[in-house]
């Protein structure tokens, strides 16, 4: 019977991109929850983390901003139809993302060696690990998006895959800048 045949729905990228945007919103709010905790904690105790943040966080921020630029270049290459350039810049973004991850680990190790461990009687210091840790989980998800774009680079959904990778990666870039500036200002 005609009714029981499945209909081949034509792929529509617009709603799917909207889903990524809404995920960005809900993720922002989770970090908003962490930083709200920090603000109320710091206000009621009259103290923040009280540390000079390791320089590594500054260098890693620069790496992350650079990765956003390479991803932007990849998008532009796609627009101009230069697949090999797009592939090159996607790989560059991927590598920079991994470097960022490595640098976050070394920043944690610097923090730990200075005596500011995760398990701490100042919850503001523990919070540095929490926000940077959960940000790093987002970086991992972002790397998956970029890999997804690399794999489907010559497929029919290439534009869509590049777009969602861009939305997400630029988001986690801006998110990190927010977190870093927040931690700098609320020491």
């Amino acid at each position: 019977m005609e009714f029981t045949t499945a209909q081949n729905v034509i792929f529509d990228a617009k709603p799917k991109k909207f889903i990524v945007w809404l995920f960005v919103v809900s993720s922002t709010i989770m970090f908003g929850g962490f930083t709200s905790y920090y603000i109320v904690f710091a206000a009621s105790k009259g103290k923040g983390h009280g540390l000079v943040l390791p320089d590594m966080f500054m260098y890693s921020s620069l790496v992350l901003v650079t990765s956003s630029i390479t991803l932007f270049l990849a998008s532009r290459a796609l627009k101009n139809g230069e697949i090999s350039r797009q592939r090159l810049f996607l790989w560059a973004t991927l590598v920079l993302g991994l470097v960022f991850g490595y640098m976050q680990f070394s920043a944690w190790s610097a923090l730990y060696q200075s005596g500011a461990a995760l398990v701490n009687n100042n919850a503001a210091i523990s919070m540095i690990y929490i926000v940077s840790g959960f940000h790093l989980l987002h970086i991992f998800a972002g790397l998956c998006f970029i890999l997804n774009s690399l794999i489907g680079i010559s497929g029919e959904k290439a534009i869509y895959k590049q777009e969602i990778a861009s939305i997400f990666w630029h988001f986690i870039d801006i998110l990190w800048i927010y977190l870093y500036v927040f931690l700098l200002l609320n020491s």
């Binding site: 909207f18 889903i19 809404l22 709010i29 908003g32 905790y37």
Partner: protein
């Protein structure tokens, strides 16, 4: 989304697994959510009967309890720590698994694509994941009944330090860990669902379906999903910190604790911060529970009164008002935490303002019923029941919102009575109204009316018998969550009332057997339904009864009018479906129907002149 033509169809082989288990069809996922929700509701109801037995007969032994519960009911009496587990898991299941996932999951999934004219959700795959995350959350939560230390027992709000110290009580151990894992999965499920609902509503409406032509059900699901997206992530943030406190030794919520003779090393944290993070979700959560039920009631009351909903725009704006206000009232759960009285005053004012949109909704439902051509279907009775519970429970909300009164009533049975009426019973009645109303759309058959009436009247009367007397216990200062009323002299006089309440709860539980039988029997043996059994206007009743992937064969219907053209003067029937063009209803068109389309107005004028209709 009408880009699909029948020529594109290809034979799709459906196996049992792809059709019933890992289905990506929104109608099947709705059924999965509904049936899982019903099973969880039955379990949570059973738990409530167990602790009601303890409350009514604290000194009596029931050997049968020991037979079934083993060490949790040694000597035929519920153990105190198990009693706490029972109230905790009852609350968690009812609030999250039944009234959030069971309610939104069922009706948002079923109705959003069908009432808006979409083939399916924006992402059917995420939709499927959403159900399976929910299923895993349910399984993990239930598994905590089968571990040595028992389920979580810190109350459904899991306040630290009780929840943050695994050794505090037996329920703070593995049971609490399972509770947290289950909730993380549940929130993931809710977010996947909510993101899908919002995306579908904003991007995939059929031609002509502008926002102001959407049924109130869709408005309610839309705003509920937005609430979820904006508030659940905050709970995740709070839960993550709690997990770190429990398992890694951080001090986010812990400070100055002595356990036995041991002084714990945790310093500097504050349990009040958990309450802030929890209630920033927790308060919107009660609107996540009630708003879909409100949307369902609006639709059911309008259809069965054969009248347009009174104040459609006011209904939408009041929902928007509730959505916004619900984010700035969480402090009213925390009046006794030593909150600055000035801040308490702010939360009190915002809380009391919510009474305004709530009252708008209530008066509009009553005005819709007023002089309607009412059809008392079971769905209609349950929708009216929602209005009743919402009024009687809502009025006590005005008491509790007052800081000066709340400081006396906080954590007493008055609060229990209030929220069980206003969000418990009201939301459950909205859900049941939805089940009776859309059962034909789900299964192509009708539920039995007489069993429906029996179910309604017994449940309605017993719900009042259960919850109304609890107000008076609260006014007398009886605290919630206490194990035995025999332990305190001032509480002993309430023992007889507890016996009445428990009997009423048992009768109400038995009445649900009528529903369960009716539901499962009618799936297979119910009377076959016609395509539009309630003569309703919305698009879901234009789709064929047979389950087809993509909902409509061929083109999706176009929408020409709002969903509430019931008993329109001059019309031939007392309902005009949304996909009926204005050109087919020349005798009933009103000037505002044309929305400024001058050409159409001219045609109408010519028709009126020809048919000698005096303006």
């Amino acid at each position: 989304m009408s880009t699909i033509s029948v020529h594109d169809t290809h034979q799709h082989h459906e196996t049992f697994l792809s059709k019933y288990v890992f289905s990506m069809d929104h109608k099947m996922i709705a059924k999965q959510f509904l049936i899982t929700g019903i099973i969880m509701a039955v379990i949570a109801m059973g738990l409530s009967i167990l602790f009601r037995i303890q409350l009514a007969w604290p000194d009596k032994s029931f050997p049968i309890l020991e037979t079934f519960l083993g060490k949790w009911a040694e000597g035929g009496r519920i153990r105190p720590d198990f009693y706490l587990s029972l109230v905790t898991i009852h609350g968690t299941i009812m609030v999250f698994f039944v009234l959030t996932a069971g309610l939104s999951g069922t009706f948002s999934n079923l109705l959003i694509p069908l009432q808006l004219g979409a083939r399916d959700m924006a992402s059917p795959f995420l939709n499927m994941l959403s159900y399976w995350f929910f299923f895993m959350a349910c399984t993990i939560m239930m598994s905590s009944f089968f571990i040595q230390t028992g389920p979580a027992s810190a109350g459904w709000t899991v306040y630290p330090p009780l929840s943050a110290l695994p050794k505090a009580i037996s329920g703070s151990g593995l049971g609490m860990t399972l509770w947290l894992i289950s909730m993380v999965l549940f929130v993931a499920s809710s977010l996947m669902g909510g993101i899908n609902y919002v995306t579908t509503i904003l991007n995939m409406r059929t031609k002509g379906m502008d926002l102001w032509k959407m049924p109130l059900t869709i408005w309610a699901f839309f705003l509920t999903a937005i609430l979820g997206i904006l508030s659940f992530p905050v709970l995740v943030a709070g839960v993550i910190l709690l997990v770190f406190d429990r398992s890694f030794g951080t001090s986010f919520y812990l400070s100055d604790i002595v356990m036995g003779t041991e002084i714990l090393s945790n310093q500097g944290g504050s349990p009040i911060l958990w309450q802030h993070l929890f209630w920033f979700l927790g308060h919107p959560e009660v609107y996540i529970v009630i708003m879909p039920a409100m949307g369902i009631a609006s639709e059911v009351i309008s259809v069965n009164s054969r009248k347009p909903i009174f104040g459609y725009h006011a209904m939408v704006y009041s929902l928007i008002g509730i959505t916004i206000l619900s984010f700035i009232v969480w402090g009213h759960h925390m009046f006794v935490t030593g909150m600055n009285p000035w801040l308490g005053g702010v939360f009190m004012i915002t809380t009391l303002i919510i009474a305004v949109p709530s009252a708008v909704k209530t008066f509009n439902w009553l005005a819709t019923l007023w002089r309607g051509n009412i059809r008392f279907t079971p769905a209609m009775l349950f929708a009216i029941g929602l209005v009743s519970f919402f009024i009687s429970g809502g009025l006590t909300g005005i008491w509790l919102g007052n800081a000066a009164l709340d400081i006396n009533l906080h954590d007493t049975y008055f609060v229990v009575a209030h929220f069980h009426l206003v969000m418990g019973s009201a939301a459950i009645f909205g859900m049941l109204a939805g089940v009776y109303h859309w059962f034909p759309r789900l299964f192509g058959r009708l539920m039995d009316r007489r069993l429906g009436y029996l179910h309604f009247w017994v449940t309605f009367i017993c719900a009042y018998l259960v919850f109304f007397p609890l107000h008076f216990l609260g006014l007398d200062g009886v605290p919630r969550r206490y194990y035995a009323f025999t332990e305190f002299e001032f509480m002993q006089k309430w023992l007889t009332v507890n016996v009445l309440v428990t009997w009423a709860a048992i009768v109400a539980a038995l009445a649900q057997v009528a529903f369960l039988f009716n539901f499962f029997y009618s799936i297979f043996k119910g009377e076959k339904s016609t395509q539009n059994p309630w003569q309703a206007n919305t698009l879901e009743w234009t789709a064929p009864v047979e389950r087809i992937h993509g909902n409509w064969p061929g083109e999706i219907p176009t929408v020409y009018r709002w969903p509430y053209d019931y008993s329109k003067p001059g019309a031939e029937t007392d309902f005009i479906q949304q996909n009926t063009p204005l050109s087919e209803t020349m005798s009933s068109n009103m000037p505002h129907d044309f929305e400024g389309n001058v050409e159409a107005e001219e045609i109408q004028k010519a028709w009126d002149a020809e048919n000698k209709i005096v303006e």
